[in-house]
């Protein structure tokens, strides 16, 4: 399973990207990720989750998940981020921070 994550927008407009491959994770982390994806009901989430009244300068998140021949992409705005997807997005934000500093998975 592979996840591609992007955060764009915000006042700065600086895009952050990260890719996570399950096979690069330690077993505990891979298990945690599986649980987060399951709890988020990711494959049944709508492709676009946007606010009806968008707030300027909020972040936009794009999450693409690929596994065993299926894939799904969800684009969401920060102010419309559903609670069930929040832990996954937060985890990916931390991951992309680690990657940026060169401490995390390649």
């Amino acid at each position: 399973m592979r996840i591609f994550f992007e955060r764009s927008g915000g006042f700065s407009g600086i895009t952050m990207k990260t890719a996570v491959d399950e096979k690069d994770l330690v077993p505990d982390e891979a298990q945690k990720l599986r649980e987060m994806i399951e709890k988020a009901d990711f494959f049944n989430s709508p492709g676009k989750i946007m606010s009806r009244s968008p707030q300027p300068d909020r972040f936009q998140y794009e999450l693409r998940l690929e596994e065993k021949g299926r894939q799904h992409t969800v684009t969401m705005s920060e102010e419309a981020l559903p609670a069930k997807l929040k832990p996954l997005v937060q985890w990916l934000m931390e991951k992309s921070g680690q990657t940026r500093k060169g401490k995390g998975s390649p």
Binding site: G10, G13, I14
Partner: protein
Amino acid sequence: MKPVRYLGIHSIIPPYMLEEIAKHGKPHQRDMALRNLALAGFIRGQRHALGVLPSAAPVGHKSRAVYDCKHKDGQPPTGTLVRKEGGPRSKDVAVNEAYDGAGATYDLYYDIYERNSIDNRGMSIVSYVHYDVKYDNAFWDGSEMVYGDGDGEIFARFTKCIDVIGHELTHGVTQYEANLAYSSQPGALNESMSDVFGSLVKQRALKQTAAKADWLIGAGLLMPKIHGKALRSMKAPGTAYDDPILGKDPQPATMKDYVQTTSDNGGVHINSGIPNHAFYLAAMEIGGNAWKKAGKIWYIALRDRLRSKSNFAGAASATISVAKDLFGSGSKEMKVVQNAWKGVGVI
């Protein structure tokens, strides 16, 4: 009719209670509640709703409040009132910056464009500082300002730059006026208007002419070890930063480099470089203080001519027609504005 006393009332009755009164009160109570909600800015982005309410007195009404979120997030933000209009300075630099920046923005709009606060009805300017933990952002949530502290590695605190404050509050002005849709070209125009007036707030505070100004957005917001002087450059879009962690400033200066993307609501913070540069070109060719002529042309276009779906070409014709109305057909100012939009390839 006896003038309604707005002031004081809205600071006593909390907005949730006003909303209940507006829905369920007797007619005169509902009227009072609606006026106070409008004044406090709790009716979000509904120019048509506000249009039916009487305008506030023509006298300027500067009323600021700053709340400390104490690192909590949430929608709407919550916090403790730490400074209100006329109150003593805080020991917290972020509180004073939010307060002073809101004041400088109010003053530009009131002194130069005769606009009475964000809604032109004297609404209170409410700011929330220390939102969330290490939050790398600032935003206008439809009713109030929200500032993060930054992570301290890439970004410093977002109240640090007066142009960032002017930028965010201008999103409020845009919401009450053209209400530019936050996507693709209208969204990039929305962003550009915020950069234009954010920069003008800074230039006026520093008493700078167009030639003396740095035309940067967010100078000082990036931490010293980051390779970049700011987040955007109106003078030279695409040159504000070039850093191993952040990448390179992606802004185009002209239409030939317009970026098609689904990220960032269709590149609203990217393609804003094009109208930003058009404003820079116009202001430089007019000369003097940019907020006086170029700023006035852009402001009136935003207030009276642009609509929610306006694109770059629409902004070009709106600003050219305002320049014509203000300074005459064939005037230097009109030609300068035309040249500016030609310069960035929009016309």
